[in-house]
Amino acid sequence: MPKNVTIKPVDELSYEEAMAELEKIVATLETDQKSLDQAMQLFERGQALAVRCNALLEAAQLKIQKLTGDMLVSYSEEEE
């Protein structure tokens, strides 16, 4: 069944996109009757998505900015 969304490579997905697709794959495998072939493909994509989510989480660094009026500058702890 062709999806409305074009399939992006896993490496280009944001955390939310990857997680959302992972949830969908789990739901599909739980309910739909897929052939062994299709299921295998979904399974592998799902594992790749999980790896991507993990990587994004592990690497994440809090992004901090300072606001004066309407001007945003990146925040550096040494200044304070």
Partner: protein
């Protein structure tokens, strides 16, 4: 002194009289829970840890004692000459023959007035519905942008930063620095709230570390409280310590006991939680896959089983098996029967050989047949002119004489 009392027969002991006075004082509710203001003098803190002092004003003095157990609660340094308000109850120190204020709390004189103002404003804004629970908005579970209003040089900011980095590093934080005490604080805080809201954050943290009611007073200023209530983004207020409540706490969408707690409340979904979620999904995926493979294998098994049961080879094997069964059950009986039949067949075949017509010929007998139709001549009347004679090793023709 009246005439009558000189002759009075009632004589009190000092103890009893003192006790009576004490009971009278203790029975007066107004004297059992009160605040009194005065100036400290004769302050004494002996080794026992208890605190003794006198509160005085121009025309009277009141002896006070504060027990060692209440002393740590003192937020201020007591000094002779200090103007304070003391809270406690009146009773009598029997042995010394004096009434005293048994003090449990002391605060600087200004504070009482501030607290009054706090209560007045709280009541007014409450009546307006500013603190109503229905006004409070839900805090988003997964904020992408978190606005923080606090002093950049304070411990509150450090604590919040550490907490957010640990819990949800995928978020983006915007700090709007502002002084958090003193006269200019309230207007600066309002300004910060406005500019942060222009960045459209998912949630705003309003934070400040602990302090006295005067230190925290900016967060009780009416204009700021109204600005918090009117904030476009939901506000989590984390000002002071556990037990400090400011009017901003009531006006905010959520109150946190400390700045750290405000950062925690802003991030219900934590990185650890997300990592766990992903792990769970992977386990589910794997077990679903395993299940599918198992089911497929099972159904293939099932089909091949049925095929095997129906095949002709199988039928043959079945029959052979039946025979084997039979022979096993019948055992020796079959073998004997077989031998008997063998013998029978042998002797029968011998007799058959003896009865063979060709065998008789070798004993000298001949077979006479008519030439025209091959019929055997068994009697004189059967004989014709031309006949054939068959002996054991061949035949020849004969003519009747």
């Amino acid at each position: 002194m009246s005439q009558a009392s000189i002759f009075s027969t009632i004589r009190w002991s000092v103890t009893d009289l003192t006790r009576r006075i004490r009971e009278q004082l203790e029975a007066d509710e107004m004297l059992q829970d009160l605040w009194v203001e005065g100036e400290i003098s004769n302050l004494s803190r002996p080794a026992s840890g208890h605190v003794y002092f006198t509160l005085k004003d121009p025309s009277a003095a009141l002896k006070c004692v504060m027990w060692k157990s209440d002393a740590p609660r003192l937020k201020i340094q007591l000094k002779d000459g200090m103007a304070v308000e003391a809270h406690g109850r009146i009773s009598v120190y029997d042995a010394g023959g004096q009434y005293q204020l048994y003090t449990d709390r002391i605060r600087p004189i200004g504070e009482g007035a501030l607290y009054q103002e706090f209560l007045r404003l709280k009541e007014q804004l409450e009546k307006e519905g500013l603190f109503a629970p229905e006004r409070k908005r839900a805090i988003p579970e997964f904020p992408r942008i978190i606005g923080v209003i606090t002093s950049a040089s304070g411990a509150a900011w450090r604590d919040i930063l550490n907490t957010l980095q640990r819990r949800q590093p995928l978020a983006k934080v915007i700090l709007a620095h502002s002084p958090v005490q003193g006269d200019g604080a309230a207007p600066a805080l309002i300004e910060a709230l406005d500019s942060i809201n222009r960045q459209k954050p998912d949630v705003i943290l309003l934070a400040r570390g602990g302090g006295s009611i005067e230190d925290l007073w900016a967060f009780n200023e009416e204009a700021l409280v109204r600005a918090v209530a009117a904030s476009k983004a939901p506000v989590i207020c984390g000002v002071g310590h556990e037990t400090d409540f400011t009017l901003c706490d009531f006006a905010a969408d959520m109150r946190a006991a400390t700045p750290t707690a405000s950062a925690e409340l802003a991030t219900p979904i934590t990185r650890d939680g997300q990592l766990r979620q992903i792990k769970e999904r992977r386990i589910i995926l794997t077990s679903l896959m395993n299940e599918l493979i198992f089911k497929t294998r099972e159904s293939i098994f099932g089909v091949s089983n049925r095929l095997r049961l129906l095949s002709p080879t199988n039928r043959v094997y079945n029959e052979i098996q039946k025979l084997d069964e039979l022979s096993r059950r019948s055992g020796s009986a079959v073998i004997h029967l077989f031998q008997f039949h063998s013998l029978l067949v042998n002797s029968l075949s011998k007799r058959l050989v003896a009865l063979n017509p060709i065998g008789v010929l070798s004993r000298g007998y001949a077979i006479l047949t008519r030439k025209q139709d091959g019929r055997v001549v068994a009697s004189v009347k059967d004989a014709t002119q031309e006949m054939k004679v068959r002996v054991s090793d061949g035949e020849f023709g004969v003519t009747k004489a």
